[in-house]
Symmetry: C2
Subunit: 202 residues, 2 copies
Amino acid sequence: MKAVQRRPVAVSDTRDRVLDAAERLVQTMGFNWFSYADIASELAIRKASVHHHFATKAELGRAMIARYSESFAAALDAIGRARVDAATKLTRYAKLYETVLRDNRLCLCAVLAAEYGSLPAPMQAEIRRFFDRNEHWLAKVIEEGRQAKTITINGSPIDVARMLLSSLEGAMLVARPYGDAKRFAAAAALVVSGLRTVGKST
Amino acid sequence: MKAVQRRPVAVSDTRDRVLDAAERLVQTMGFNWFSYADIASELAIRKASVHHHFATKAELGRAMIARYSESFAAALDAIGRARVDAATKLTRYAKLYETVLRDNRLCLCAVLAAEYGSLPAPMQAEIRRFFDRNEHWLAKVIEEGRQAKTITINGSPIDVARMLLSSLEGAMLVARPYGDAKRFAAAAALVVSGLRTVGKST
DNA sequence: CACTACCTATCTACTAGTAGGTAGTACGGC
DNA sequence: GCCGTACTACCTACTAGTAGATAGGTAGTG
């Protein structure tokens, strides 16, 4: 897949730690709030070292979303392969969000969608890609549940997928100011339970 | 209501125009992106004149949310007094959001909830107040519909109100990167139609 | 005279980004 | 085994520009 040009002279985990710090800062404060100095001081390195790994803030932002999107896709893949019914998969999907919120963070792409107009085009494209992948995965699970008759929908799978994704993103957004993950859990349960075929509902 | 202390020596609409500009900038770019210079240049005045009306950015932010919250409450009051059934009131409520989105803006408090951790305490308090008022109004309308049997809910009115509010906020958030108000309308219709008593659904 | 509205000029702190340097390491040639 | 080359990682020191905020002034008005 990727040709090794020369060889890796040294392996540093600093690059990943920069992305970790940036991710946490965006999820809690927003992309336009933090600076290279914040990341540098958190990692006890110099600003120039952060620039060594990510020349510009735009490139740091793009790489951060790409990594987040990949790791999220891996989690979706794991849920997708589990031998449980579609409604349970959706509940586990919601649980993925709840875990993030419990750390007082929001979905990375929810924060970035709020600041969307201020972001460089490459970051905007990565954000749409994240939402597209989630909608596609959700639509597949919903269609699977519709065929197994464990899920009853009132519209096309893609429309229901979009409704579900945006409802969960919104539930995180509104729950955080109250520092109360139960708020999210209650809203998520209401939305997911609305899809369960009557007679099988919790 | 408000005691006139001395008298208004001169009446300027600059203060309101500053709030208009700030509101638009937050809704499209976020609170941490814009500066006093952006507002000054947009109004063709000087930065110091903006500081004359709002000494600090924190105070500007607080006043901006308070005004937004008041004008939103007035709109809710108008919908609440209309002689239409509860489900129609909820549809009109969703329409309120759709109008904002069509201008490529987000709900002011949705953007600020995304940047929540970076905001001064007085702004944080105003944001929670906005959500509280919306939830309270929605719960009242939902309870009204439940009693008239035009709405069927699967939980307490306040939980359904929270679900509805956060679903609509999320639907705006996710729709904007696609510049497509139809995405919002479809998600909103799905959520609202899920509350209509079966047999009366659209 | 007190007040509002707005101005010029300036401050300090911080922003993203750059120039150019040092230390350490993997590898090919000898 | 040792040495030069190329590379990564990180550093100090700096730039130009912008952030929010302040001091102190002018013009107009009741």
